[in-house]
Assembly symmetry: C2
Homo-oligomer: 333 residues x 2
Amino acid sequence: MSIEINSPLDMHLHLRQDKMLKVVAPLSAKYFAGGLIMPNLIPPITSLEMVKEYKKEILESIDEEFVPYMTLFFKDSYDEEFLKSIKDEVLAIKLYPSGITTNSEGGANLQDLTSLYPVLKLMSELQIPLCVHGESEGFVMDREKEFVEVYENLAKTFPKLKIIMEHITTKNSVELLDKFENLYATITLHHLLITLDDVAGGFLKPHLFCKPIAKRPEDRAALLEVALKAHPKVMFGSDSAPHPLHAKESCGCAAGVFTAPIALQALAQLFEKKGYLENLESFVSLNAQKIYNITPIEKRIKLIKKEFKVPEKYGDVVPMFAGKTLSWSISEE
Amino acid sequence: MSIEINSPLDMHLHLRQDKMLKVVAPLSAKYFAGGLIMPNLIPPITSLEMVKEYKKEILESIDEEFVPYMTLFFKDSYDEEFLKSIKDEVLAIKLYPSGITTNSEGGANLQDLTSLYPVLKLMSELQIPLCVHGESEGFVMDREKEFVEVYENLAKTFPKLKIIMEHITTKNSVELLDKFENLYATITLHHLLITLDDVAGGFLKPHLFCKPIAKRPEDRAALLEVALKAHPKVMFGSDSAPHPLHAKESCGCAAGVFTAPIALQALAQLFEKKGYLENLESFVSLNAQKIYNITPIEKRIKLIKKEFKVPEKYGDVVPMFAGKTLSWSISEE
């Protein structure tokens, strides 16, 4: 059995910088036609110059054709002139609540949402989509649920602004998709596969520790439902987030699951098992094209039902399914 | 400021075997008058001979006066003759649902509770208390809550059997204390201090990963309420569970927090901060004496309000608060 996917897109991708970038960027470029590149570097991407420089660094790290769709780190201080100047260089602006995840210090203060309104109004007028890391500062299992009111506020206040709820993990977030026309979502591979049980139900698994943390079985079921059926408002975003081994297996382990090089294979396995293989292309490419109004480069990826032993490491990064065998692989022909 | 505690008791303690036993047993013996020793060794303690041998091994590992109150690993195959033969050698029998925690394979099958009834009936008649690790096989955050019905069943079916709900972590379990006369509980230090936020809310903290997993803020609040007020049906049980460093900081980290050598200091700090220092002796000694009907050896421990820098390691074991400073210490005079 095999399936061809045209122009897979990874609409939530961390490529990092320097040495790590050189390890992971080629892995995404190999199998994806493009990806939405997250701006939470140190320091975060907040100027046109930084966007261009980062894009150049990414393109220099890869040999294959791959489009890094760039993002800007949301600041409530951006003005109209600036936003107009970056409009053609970025596909979206990413909002992080301050301090909520890796390198999100300096993000938005959500205590007073109205402080964000001027920039959001401009983004709405300029048709720049807003990507959001939607977590409160509450108890870890409640953070995304508590963020629902922020999504509702933003969706109602800016009905023309496209808002993408990034890496959603709960039933509550899924329900918002059909409630507000301007809310969309990315879903990761790992949140389709695991719950908190997999992270901390038996032994503790640092390589499955991520933010937002994997939730309850009923949450995973809700995510699966919309992903497998390729709900037109959801798209694949791996949130593939590499950390070197020492930062994962230590007494204070960093959050992030590295999935970029194994995501398509694992998705094919999942979609086939559940009987929805015909929807995979929509989930990993067509939906994103429509939502972001983009036409990616041609890149035909042939997935075949043939065992693929996932490497223990890529460089110093341990991928999801390290050392395990997936039932689908990517044809190298 | 100082306080003297007579005969502190740790009513839920893992001392392990061999080399690890020799590291951790002296640390408990130094500050506690006695402890209830868990039987989940490899293989578990299921015979009179094993009880005696393990007790001997413990006593040979320590120099100070310390009473290891022994337990037996529950089996539904025990008969009356056997139970009579061990009655004077063990203080309680510990029931583990099969496969639920470290070395609990071969535990009780809880699918059919009536299969346990014959042994429980004998224990009730012989007045041997039953200690229970109360977790279902469900989703990690629901396991203790789902076990409530088992506790209720056992408490109702055997009203004369003393049942100790070990290391309780939820509001639901706390509520059972006032609902059934024959239900008691141990509470650990770490479940009084942490929630899942501390384990997985920021960086992942393997040294705070334990079973049952730390729960929600409202659960911790319920535990604190009965511990600080020294509710007569609760007693301190550290569940101090040493694992060597390599088993904690790895890609599949073992469950257990090591607290034995720092527990009294941390409890004094907590009880003082909350204004309940006068209840500490009841929580760490008097309640257990009444519940188990035991008279421990005299051992006066003087706690003083003086900074104590917790060692990074004891042998190869990382304790809770490693490298941190507690505001109370134990007088070595």
